[in-house]
Structure formats: C-alpha cells, structure tokens
Amino acid sequence: MRTGSFAVTFTLLLAAAGCKSQPQPRATPPPPVAECALLTADSVAGSSEAVHVALLDEVSPASAPLGRNDSERLLFRHAYEALIDVDCRGRVRPALAESWDSEANGRGWRFTIREDARFWDGRRLTAVDVVRGWESGPGWVAVDSITIDSDRTFTVHLGRAHDTVPILFADPSHAVALSQAQSTWPLGTGPYRIEGPAPSTDFSHLVVNAYPPERGSQPRVVFRLATLTDARDLIDGGIDVMVTAAPDVLDYASKRSELESLPLPWDRTYVLLSPTRVRELRARQDDGLELPSVSGDLRDALASDAVRGDARGHQGSGWWDGDSACEVELERLRALPPAVATAAYRVEGPRRVVYIEGDEVARGLAERVVALATRPVSVERSPELNDAVPGLGEADVPLLVSALDRDRFDSALQRGSEFLFVVALATQSLDPCHHTMLLAERAPWLNIGWLSPVSTIIPLVDTRQHVIARSGAVSLTLAVDGTVLIP
C-alpha cells in the first residue's frame, strides 16, 4: 500500500519537478569538529593493519541499516550512511548529501547527493537508490512524498515545516542500504564496506571484515561476533574495541592497564508498556484523570539493586515527553481508528512480564516487578508500582517473567498480547516526532494521538554502555546517539 502510494506520488511529483518553487540559499555545512573524539590512536600502537572490534550481541544482515542492538548499531553505523550526519554536539554535517536547501517554507527539502557517493560495488548512488532504500525501511514514516529532480537531486516533502534541515535524515532509519540478491549484506555507501561470510555461514561465529574505501590509508576493521564467548576472553585474545555494560567485564578491564574504559552517554531508557494502563487511561480520558507513574525513588532503587551494570533512575525527559511539536504527526495517527490490545493478558495461564531474550537489564527489571507485585513483600513502594500498572497486584493469577525472542516480542508488542512489556527505548532522539511515529507503529495499542506517550510510557531506568579500548590502538569518536565510531 505504502509502496503503491509512494509510486503514484513519486510520479506526480517527478512531473511537477520543473515548476517547484525556487530553492532557498544553500546552507554551508559546518566543518567536522574534534570535540567528539573519545580516544586517539598513537603512532606506535595505532599502526596495526586491523582494528578488532567485538560484537557481543546478535547481528543479522536483515536488520540493516537500522540496528536492533548495540552491536548492530555499531557495525551498521560504519557501513551505511544517511543523508546527513550529526555530531555529538548536535551539529549537522554532510554525509551522503553534500548540500541541501529548503522550499515551501521548510516543508520541502532538496538534497544533492555528493558526486563521489558510490556503493561498495562501485556503482554510483542515485536519488532513486536513496528513495528505494527508504521505501523498504522505517524511514518512510516521516515522509509525505519525494520528488526526483535529477540523478543526484531529490526533494523530500514533509508534513511539518522545519526551519533547519530535519535532523531525522541523520537517523540510521534513513541510511541507505540496497538489498542484493547475490549478497548477504545489503550494499552500503559507508566508510567501511562489509565483506562478510557467505549466506550459509553460521552467524554465531561471524567475522566481518570492514574495509575503508581506500585501503592503506586506514586500518581494516574486523568485527568479531562473540555472543557465546565470555567477553573477558576476547580481551585476553587481543580485541581492540569493545562496547559493554557488563560489570564483570568492566571490572576485569579496569584491572588491565593496557585498556581504557570510558562511559558512554546514557542512551537507553527501559520503560514499562502496559496494555492495562492504556485501557485504564482511555477509560479515564473523558474525566481528565491520569494514572500515577513511578517515583524517582523507586526508579533509583531499581537502578541500584535490580539492574546489574551502569544504570540510574530515569532522569530528565525522554523524547516522548514533549509531543506538542508533533501535532501534524499526531493528527495523522488520530485519523486512524484506535487500536486495542488483543488481550490485557492471557485469558488462560499466568500473566507475563516479557522482555527480549538476552537483555539482562530488562530481565532484572522484569524480575523485580514480579517480586514487588507478589505478596508478601516488605518494600513499601510496591503499591506505587501497582497503581502505575493496573491489575499488577492481583494475586489470583500468577505473574511470571518470560523471555521472548525478538520476533515473538515484536509480535506480542504489536498486538499488546502480554500483560507487561519491558522495552528499551533510545533516551534521546534526533527527531522525537519521528520516534513517536515509529513507536506508534511498533505498538499501536498505545493509542498515541489520543493518549500522550508520557502518560502511557512508564520510564524506569537509564543505562549506558562503556567502551573498552586498547590504549592508543585506535581513534574513536562519538556519534550523537552515543554510538562509537571508528573514523
């Protein structure tokens, strides 16, 4: 449906390309800055031919270019480019697009692809490739239509006016990845090209070679997938870069003098999503009543005791807190019929608090929620959690923790078919409205548009990763979303 509507719109706008309004004066992209550097390689240790990077989570080519976990985000960030880039200070830099300007009072943005933009196979990247890449991914959510002006130029029409270039085009969801029938990995244009194993290769022992465009000028990056290996063994095996939050690994690294360990920004917020809360909020909506969320004390307690690793009670505001600027997107959602969770919880069998298998933070939080909801407890804060999640304190039906694989979890989240979901969200967003739309698509039963995400989302803890790197072996920088980059 979306592809069809896109094709129609694409054709019409392509025909009307010649009568579009005059572009505004082109903005001059600021030069790269060095403030985002995490580590700098020295001349001795950094002279090796390859940098070995550990990937501790599962990696799948099917997820490209939008990573589902830290390892995929780390790998894909090096392989697939978006139109623009935003540094750790929020400054926009050219990436695939060498220039851009606006039209229609900021509702249309015309991008010009840089001339040397090429896929790994040497083929030139065109505007059509960009559109096709978006078409198959979540990047299309924020776009009204696209006009192809030329091979290198196209105009994106948005529902909402932007004073400056929309930084959602720096989001990995707008990176370009072109699926190829002959290749395991989608073709990218990033600074490193992936030469992975054959499609039949067992990805649990994946070794991905990522080469810079010009060999010799930069070291090769070898990504080692080690989901079944103790990360400390990787350190002992000479890994150069590792991103982890595991306390035992960090503790081990701290005892190795040749390693440096740096905390990364608080980039993940674990939240509870409750169909019963949404249902109760909808019931109270007419009366203007709200449901309480959890207090800062409980969040801190969860962060300090329930979660292993670097965590804190959720602080500040997430991207979901301010939706006033997203009225255009919310209006679109309100045009759709409200979705209802298929079941507040299972009709037969126990209620389940579910999380994605392998996410230890989510597991700890789910465990603690179950422990607090089950009598007898001595923590006085448990009623607070029961108030935040209606039905949590019912003792008649057992409440259990259950780990679901990612697909089953996504399916359950889509239908709202479990009692409670422990979900990791990005703490910050380049474009909160874009993430709001993505969340609305991921969990329609949240009724975003009718209910404010700030009332439906129960934030618990923020977490952050640490980067462990061999001292002087590699230069690292930090992206705006907290991803570690090898320049």
Binding site: S304, D305, P350, R363, G364, E367, A371, S378, V401
Partner: protein
C-alpha cells in the same frame, strides 16, 4: 444325540477340563508370586528412597554448613549485610547466586533473623521479600529437610531444602538451600525403568515417567504401590504438612507374561482338544460301527428276506448281540416257512370255497328259471314257450356269468379288467335276476344315472349280487324288503363317489358281528361259507372303494359301498351327466 457324539463330548470333557484347570492354577500361582516379588521391590525401593532423601538432605546440609562458614569469612558480605554499605549492595544481592552455583544447589536464600531475604540465588531480585518462619519449619521437619515450592521469576519449582545459619556482627542469618525435585530427580530415585516414583503435594503431582498418573495410593489392580511421607512446607498457610512419595510398579510385565502364558495354554488346550476329538472320534467309530452294522442288517430284515448274515467272530457284547440277532433271524425264517405253508393251504381252501360259492350264485338264477319253467310247464304248459322266451335272457346271462367265472378261475387269479362300468345298469340287471320270489320286494332308488366307475364289470356285479343275496337271505321266511339305492356323492372338488346302498328289513347285525362280518369264513348262516362279504370287501378294495355296514338290531342292515366315480378326461362325472359312448 448319537452315541458317537456323546462319546466325543465325554472324551473332550475328560481331557480338556483338567488341562484348563491346570492352566488356571499355574497362571494364578505365577501371578501371585510375581506380584509378591513386585511388592517386595516396591517396598525395598521405598526404603531406598527414604535413605536417598536422607542422603540428599545430609548433602544439602553439608553444603549449607560450608557456605555458612564461607559467609562468615567474607568481609564484603559482612560489610553489605551488617554495615549496609551501599557499594557492596550489588555484591550482597549476587552473593547467593554465586554461592548457589558454586555449591551445586538449585536454590539458595539468605534471610535475616526476621525472615527477610537479603540475597536469593534462584530469584535474584526477590530481595527484601519476607518469608517468616520458613527456616523454623524446615528445621522442625523430620530429618531436618522439607519439600517446598521455591519461586523463580519464570515460575515455581519444587525443592528439597535444608537450613543452616551463621552469625555476622552479632546478627543471625539463615541460609536456606536445596536441590530441585523435578522429573529427573524422581527418575534417579526410581532407578529401574519399570518403577515409577510420583510426588504428590498440594501444588500438583510430579512423576518420574512424565505420564499423568493418578494421585491415589489405592492399588487399581494393575500396579503395586507403596508410599512414603515427606515433610512439605505449605507456602500459603506457612505450616508443615505431608507430601507423599508414591512408588508404583506397573504390572505390565506380569500382564504380558499372563498374556503369553494364556496364549500358550490356549494353544495347548486347542491341540489337546483336537487330539481328544480325533481320538474320541476314532474310539466312537470303533465302538459304534459294529452297532451301526447290526442296525443296518437288522433294518434289512423282513419276511421275504431272512438271509441276513449275523455271524460275528467278536467275543464281546456286540458279538453276542450279533449272534442273538442271527438266531432270531433263523427262528423267523423257520416260522415264516410254516406261515407260508399255512397261508398257501388257507388260500387253496378259500379258493375252493369261493369257487363253490360263485358257482352256486351262478346256478341259482338258472335254477330259479328252470323252477319257474317247471311250474309253468306244470301249471300252464301253453305259456311255456313264452315264459321260456321271457326268461331266456336270465339263463343266458347266468351261463355267461359261469363261463366268465370259469375263465377267470382258469387263469387262477384273473386280472381285473378295468373299464368304465355303468353302475345303475349293473344294479338293474342284478335286481332283475334276483326277482321272482314270492313276498319279496326289491326296491330301487337309483339316483346315479349315467354314473360310471372304472373297474371290472364282473367284479362290480359280484359285489352287488353278493350284497343283494345277503340282504335277501337276511329276511326271515323271505318276508320283508330289500332296497338298492345309488347316488353320486361329491366329497370334494374334483372327487366324486358313487355310493351304492343295499338295505334290508331283516333282523339286523349285532355289534360283535359287525366287527367280524368282513372276516374270512365268518358267517351267521348255517350253510354259509363265510367268504361272501370278505370277497366283497376285497373286490371293493380292488376298485379303490370302501364298504361299511350300518345296522340296528331288529331293524335291518345297510351295506354302503362307495366307489370312485369315473371321469372322462379332466373331471368327474357330475350327477345326471352322461358320457357319450357309454351304454346302459
């Protein structure tokens, strides 16, 4: 039921019933013995399981004692548990999990003196949960260990738990640890594949085999059961109750053995039955065949055939019987010869008397004619030619009758000539011949005009003549009347009978005489031969008819002859119907 069948059944019963009884006895003895053995095994296993549980409990207690010592020596634990050092909080929360894995236990909790969980190995984040009294309940259980349902985030599991304690900084802590009791645990207890160990507790039933088994300890007849009481902590009511370990030994092996034995016994009984049947058949044949031969020979005996050979060389009862039958046949043969001789003599005598009687009957009308002629010649000679002419027919008829009679006797026993005979014509002729006597009135009432019978007209005339003569003879002094009546009676569809009734007004016949009147040589006349009515009856029978007598003492008698009427072609002549070509 034949003798042979009886012999077969008797033999079957004699042979098969003991075999069946033997089979049932063996089967029962085998079942009792195996069941007793199974019961011994089950009882022994219950004792072993009791020892195993005690051993497991001891092992858990030893591990807990070691962990307690280790805990008292751990300064980080001391700082976290006693001083509440926040930096060591995570260490405290993870302590039980690490210790549980090191000790090889399935559950481990460290509680303070008030029952508050400060570290849990199997449910890390259930810290601060209060479970008062658990340690005391375990300590108070028999053997110092008890079953309980340990909670995990994913659901409860059953564990055999023991308790120990240690002191840090003057504070007492309880360490509760245990091993999970799951199917593999019970399977290990079961040891043998044919034994099933079930644990029945308030939360459900756990079986070593995995199949759903009844929680009852009552033997259902297909298994042998023994059970053991094990302390169980009811988490809801916080009290110690009894769970049951039920050991079952299925009788499937015994059932299979029974089935196999049954099959073999069935085969044996079948073979025995077949052999007994064949043997019984052979013996019955040996016994019954001579009897059957005797019966067959005996069935062939009649007066015409008495040459059956009953000779036998057997010296048993059958031989004696055969010889007795042979002697009897010999006697019959001798008696039959004598009888035939007597019959031959009687027949010759009867023939002579019959010839005498028939000739007399033939001569009587001639004599009457000549007596009449004599009277005419004497009294009225002029009328003699006329009377002679008038009675010439009677003379000729008598002579013809005598000639035919002579011809018949010449053939010794004439074959009756079967031809349609006009009954009334013959009746009229006989009545005409019988006339001529004074005071004698012969009345006729002929209602079967044209009625025919098939037979010899001479025989029919002899029947009617004899009856009419007898009727005349019965009249006292020749006074009275004789009536001859005919009618055609129809007894049924297609069957008609010509009925000839000859009645007289004589003295009648007594009942005794009626019963013997058709016998040979029985007569009430002084000069009678006693053959007249017997010949009449034989002739009637030759014509497929019947004769009966109706008599009343002092009122006269009636002889009724019924002869099948002749029908030309398809049917019987209807009354009054005349057939073409038949003369009067």
């Amino acid at each position: 039921m034949t003798l042979r069948t009886r012999l077969r059944l008797a033999f079957l019963a004699i042979v098969v019933l003991p075999v069946i009884g033997f089979a049932l006895g063996v089967r029962r003895a085998m079942s009792d013995r195996l069941t007793a053995q199974y019961q011994q095994r089950v009882d022994a296993l219950v004792a072993v399981i009791e020892d195993d549980l005690a051993f497991e409990s001891d092992a858990i207690r030893r591990k807990l004692a070691t962990l307690a010592i280790s805990a008292t020596e751990d300064n980080r634990l001391r700082l976290a548990a006693v001083s509440g050092l926040a930096s060591e909080r995570a260490y405290l929360l993870d302590y039980a999990g690490d210790a549980m894995r090191l000790a090889g236990l399935s559950m481990l909790q460290i509680q303070n003196a008030r029952g508050r969980i400060i570290s849990s190995g199997h449910f890390r984040n259930e810290y601060d949960r209060v479970e008062r009294g658990t340690s005391a309940l375990i300590a108070g259980a028999t053997g110092g260990a008890a079953l309980l349902e340990a909670r995990t985030p994913e659901g409860p599991f059953l564990a055999l738990a023991a308790v120990d304690s240690f002191t840090l900084g003057g504070r007492r802590f309880h360490i509760i640890g245990g091993q999970s009791v799951e199917r593999s645990f019970l399977t290990r207890l079961a040891r043998e594949g044919d034994l099933t160990v079930s644990l029945v507790y308030p939360g459900g039933t756990l079986n070593s085999g995995g199949d759903e088994l009844p929680a009852t300890a009552v033997s259902a007849g297909d298994e042998v059961i023994a059970e053991l009481q094990v302390p169980f902590i009811d988490g809801q009511r916080r009290e110690l109750i009894e769970a049951r370990v039920i050991v079952r030994h299925g009788l499937g092996e015994l059932q299979a053995l029974r089935s196999e034995v049954d099959s073999w016994f069935l085969v044996a009984v079948t073979i025995t039955a077949i052999a007994a049947f064949l043997l019984a058949t052979w013996l019955a044949s040996r016994i019954s065949r001579p009897l059957a031969d005797l019966a067959r020979k005996t069935s062939r005996i009649n007066l015409d055939r008495l040459d059956i050979d009953f000779r036998s060389a057997r010296k048993d009862e059958v031989g004696s019987l055969s010889r007795l039958l042979g002697a009897m046949t010999e006697r019959l043969r001798a008696g039959t010869a004598q009888l035939k001789e007597a019959e031959r003599r009687a027949t010759i005598g009867e023939l002579a008397r019959q010839v005498n009687h028939d000739i007399k009957n033939g001569l009587m009308p001639i004599r009457n004619v000549f007596r009449h002629l004599g009277e005419v010649a004497r009294d009225d000679p002029d009328q003699l030619p006329a009377v002679l002419g008038e009675r010439q027919g009677t003379i000729d008829s008598g002579i013809t009758y005598l000639e035919e009679l002579a011809s018949n006797y010449a053939r010794l026993y004439p074959r009756l000539e079967r031809q349609p005979c006009d009954v009334e014509a013959i009746v009229r002729q006989v009545v005409a011949n019988a006339g001529g006597l004074e005071h004698l009135v012969i009345q006729t009432d002929l209602n079967a005009e044209g009625a025919l019978i098939v037979g010899d007209p001479v025989a029919l005339r002899r029947i009617i003549e004899n009856l009419v003569d007898n009727a005349i003879d019965s009249l006292a002094a020749g006074r009275g009347s004789v009536a001859v009546a005919t009618e055609l009676a129809k007894d049924g569809p297609g069957e008609a009978t010509v009925r000839i009734r000859v009645s007289d007004t004589g003295s009648g016949i007594s009942e005794e005489q009626v019963s013997r009147i058709f016998d040979h040589f029985y007569t009430t006349k002084e000069d009678g031969t006693g053959l007249g009515l017997s010949i009449v009856r034989r002739l009637v029978l030759d014509l497929n008819g019947s004769i009966r007598v109706e008599s009343a003492q002092g009122e006269g008698s009636s002889f009724v002859v019924e002869l099948p009427a002749h029908s030309s072609g398809s049917g019987t002549s209807e009354p009054g119907a005349k057939e073409e070509g038949q003369g009067q």
